[in-house]
Symmetry: D2
Amino acid sequence: MPTSRFRSDEPALDSFYFELSDKQLQPLWELHGLLTPTPRVRAIPYRWCADDLAKLGRRAGDLVPIDRGGDRRVLAMANPGLGGAPFISSTLWAAVQYLQPHESAPAHRHTPAALRFVLDGEGVYTLVNGDPIAMARGDLVLTPSWTFHEHHNPGDMPMMWLDVLDLPVVAALDAVFFEPGGDSEADRTEIPRSTAERRWGAGAGLSPVGTPDLPPHSPLLVYRWKDTDAALDNLLEVEDTNDVTVRFQDPSRDRDVMPTMRCEMRRVNPGTTTRRERQTGTRVTAVLDGSGTVVLDGESFDLSPGDVFVVPSWCTHQLHARTRLDLFTTSDSPVLEALHLHRSEEVDS
Amino acid sequence: MPTSRFRSDEPALDSFYFELSDKQLQPLWELHGLLTPTPRVRAIPYRWCADDLAKLGRRAGDLVPIDRGGDRRVLAMANPGLGGAPFISSTLWAAVQYLQPHESAPAHRHTPAALRFVLDGEGVYTLVNGDPIAMARGDLVLTPSWTFHEHHNPGDMPMMWLDVLDLPVVAALDAVFFEPGGDSEADRTEIPRSTAERRWGAGAGLSPVGTPDLPPHSPLLVYRWKDTDAALDNLLEVEDTNDVTVRFQDPSRDRDVMPTMRCEMRRVNPGTTTRRERQTGTRVTAVLDGSGTVVLDGESFDLSPGDVFVVPSWCTHQLHARTRLDLFTTSDSPVLEALHLHRSEEVDS
Amino acid sequence: MPTSRFRSDEPALDSFYFELSDKQLQPLWELHGLLTPTPRVRAIPYRWCADDLAKLGRRAGDLVPIDRGGDRRVLAMANPGLGGAPFISSTLWAAVQYLQPHESAPAHRHTPAALRFVLDGEGVYTLVNGDPIAMARGDLVLTPSWTFHEHHNPGDMPMMWLDVLDLPVVAALDAVFFEPGGDSEADRTEIPRSTAERRWGAGAGLSPVGTPDLPPHSPLLVYRWKDTDAALDNLLEVEDTNDVTVRFQDPSRDRDVMPTMRCEMRRVNPGTTTRRERQTGTRVTAVLDGSGTVVLDGESFDLSPGDVFVVPSWCTHQLHARTRLDLFTTSDSPVLEALHLHRSEEVDS
Amino acid sequence: MPTSRFRSDEPALDSFYFELSDKQLQPLWELHGLLTPTPRVRAIPYRWCADDLAKLGRRAGDLVPIDRGGDRRVLAMANPGLGGAPFISSTLWAAVQYLQPHESAPAHRHTPAALRFVLDGEGVYTLVNGDPIAMARGDLVLTPSWTFHEHHNPGDMPMMWLDVLDLPVVAALDAVFFEPGGDSEADRTEIPRSTAERRWGAGAGLSPVGTPDLPPHSPLLVYRWKDTDAALDNLLEVEDTNDVTVRFQDPSRDRDVMPTMRCEMRRVNPGTTTRRERQTGTRVTAVLDGSGTVVLDGESFDLSPGDVFVVPSWCTHQLHARTRLDLFTTSDSPVLEALHLHRSEEVDS
């Protein structure tokens, strides 16, 4: 006998609800919370502290072999509002990944896109479709949708970095595909400059002619801190502001680095308080350098190097820089914009 | 004291899991089913029969006043695989809406976009941002994201139609906004041709010069069955096939009618069996006319006029037309394509 | 011994000029008129009268066989300012073409694009890459760049129409290619609806799925007067103005019908005087119906059905409609816009 | 009495031709050479020798004051096929410009776009809309359409560079506008890095957020030789070829640096003979370094540093590098491509 989640004191209606249930139908007038004045966001503003991430990363390195499962030694930031789901928001996955010396994480590919941002250390290299990319502090490394990737730590020091994926979006769209790679290569000791950088990284506005067809993501797979740092300094020189941002873009086209994730680096001068604003979509921010405060929907969080915080959709956010703040932010804005669901506004204090 | 959903027989690991949980972190190696070889789709293939929809629509009309809640008398098709969620798949909402004679559904707007497809009857008109659109069998009517809309039935016959919304996508992206409208207008007895049609509907390739700025959706808000029917006949004449499809497009640009939903009308000649194929993303199909069979992941469903069926992501589908089939299909393909997550393939029988 | 077009009274300079000339160099300081405050336009505003065109077309029909040369019996409008060049302006070619009963103009193709606008009569059909297109009053027919085309008059009445080509632009870019066609087909007596119309002409926003790749021009090769006329009427109903314009567009994309020529139809209500304006680029206008006046750089020209006039670049123009004016205009605006050389402004009276 | 350029031995026709002439019409069948199988190109392949350009530039510097006329001390390369017109082809203007120590060329702007390529020397700076750009060997400097520009030589050495403009195209389209600037600034002794470079030149794929609206041309106004040189070296490392090319692009978008001109730098290894090819449109090439040969429509020209040669439309060209050749080429390809008139092919030897 069918049961229904809808009940009524009126017998005719109650019987009708059972019949609806039997035919896989539901009465809209008994459904609530579907169309809300502003987004009903389950994820809450939250900050993960650098010390906790570092300490627990090391513990994972000691306790858990890399091949225990999932091919990766990864600690996922689970937003307390999501009821135990391993996501930092309804649209993004964020995690720290830890590699011991002489370990490697084997090759695979998946439709969810990933980025790696290095908050500290160096020594690991990532192979993206076979192109080796050395990773160091401040570098942004892309492993876009459906590219094979593996991580190697040929050195004598462990290394940890931040991973962000669009996995919840791809899962919500029922579009997750996964494929294990073949045998991973043996560790290299010399990591050459990546082919991607030699083709696309020579300088602004210099494009190779006659190279392979462009993929749907940036053909440049790594953005080096030296360049980003210089770009921020240059902008502070020429713009009349204490708060500048550089966007990482596909150098071959007017697009974000990947179809689903925007990446930006922001530099806020000491003593500066930024505009109070909010927008649709999730922002995940990592502190590369500096200290200060972020206020998220009225709650204040102290910031130190290595901290990671999440700004859920439509949550107001405002920064105060005690020392010069360098912040890496990734967001799902390209998704919101592509679907014309992007809204943003400044919020009065 | 924190609890953890992860447990281990090894005391050190168990204690580590508690600590992770305390810091809102989760161990990837204990998470399963995140990255699957092919999409793990919870929605199942399913068909709602015209008779059930008609009968239960009428029952709702008799039992439930229009103002009971949600502003609309709507029966939502709840996919049996989704555990009680009122969605036809993880990305689309589909429902039948029923208006009694001389009833109206009041004005509101929301960021989820909606379309209305009329499987039978006539007499209702919809106001979209104040522009009146008479609705009749075979017509496709758009109420795009954030446009005010209200429905009026000034006649003496009830009317029912199919509603499809991208609500689950917009909700998953934490981007639902809703606003009630002002007072709805009184019923009109004369429904003029819509301004949208007079600006944009005169003929293929004729664009008004000097009209208002274009919205992010089609400025043409209704596609009339007479035109669609003729287009399908014309295509069958000039193409060497028994299976033709017309896509409803924004006449001002090379785009789908709305950023999140594709709409198509397909005509399959009697006796024809179509290619067996699958793709990422959900397809919702309504039978306007004809009879036949659809096979969804190996399961066969009979089709009659007014039936509605769902093809979840990566589900193989194949049609057989007993009589000439006219099928309206809407899908989330624009979303998958915008994010470069679209895959499709022909599947060997 | 080299000669130079530059001379100087100073012997050293004179000798230098000779040396420059010997090395194929020229001194900028002796060149004048290269960079002028506003465009130095050699073409002048001009109008060709319908009566002259009709009478001389008939005379050509009587005197000159179709195969005398150039494959076409065409009278080119030669702008009096261009020193004998057979062009209506520095960028466009305009002409009338005349076909006697049972004559045909053989197949060929060329990179210059052409359009045909029928000011009067009917009976001729044009084959574009083999697709037959019947031509009648008010119809716009495209024979885009590098499409084979031939004209047939199977009927008993002569017919004349307006041809406009982008020939001067293509010639200035050293990009003219020409190829004669194979044997032309025999006259047909029944002209079916063109394949192009059956694929693309069913209605606004209805696009065939699965048809051949799109060419760089509109896949719809003819725009029928019935549709254009209705579109203008509709616009006059919904817009608060006495002066409406419909642009002919590629129905598959947001583009002009061809990469080099814009086509528009304008309807001006009786008694209306339009804005006085000017823009870069040439406009060629033909009067389909109505009478009135056009003022071009201060000079007034009476307008009657069948008249053709040219508005050269940066020439001010203003219309006055005595009766309802229907005007077809083609321009090189897509060229100016693609190269970001388009300027337009309203000019105070 | 009207005269006609067309005559006939048949009195009726002769009289008809007079009448046509009187009405500003011309008979197509008497016009020849309008539609040719391949482009009828008046410009011929030609090379200007570095020594001649240097010697005559110096002579101009000695003989002609900067303010003699045209605001610039410029020697225009006049293609011998163009009957005395001061253009290097029907679409491009090319010239050398010479500034004595402590001279400056005053500010003005014009719709024709210009580029400056430095074949030797340094010391001059150009102000583009007030932004100072120091110029040195191998640098490409843009002064796009309608940007104010002035040149200053604050140093003690004269300097000469190559100018290329799209002037013939803009003139053919009747779209030349010119405006003198205000007072030029006094010479600076310190030339800072340009604002354009500090905003857009930090590195590949790093875009400033929140800067002024983008112009229709590259916001980066100079491409430095150090970067170009490195890009070519990198490409030679990763591509399996002896012949690599870098295109200068708008770093903010997938476009050429300006809407009308493409710029490329090519490096050909010693001993390499390139493919023999041709395309529509003009190419102007300057030898930055190296020696070799270019064969243009079968005629061989020796190449030395500082030489400039022109490849007219549809002229076959093939290079042989004796030593490593570094070649700067600019072309009107964006124009041909925008209008879908671009053709290219490899030509069998």
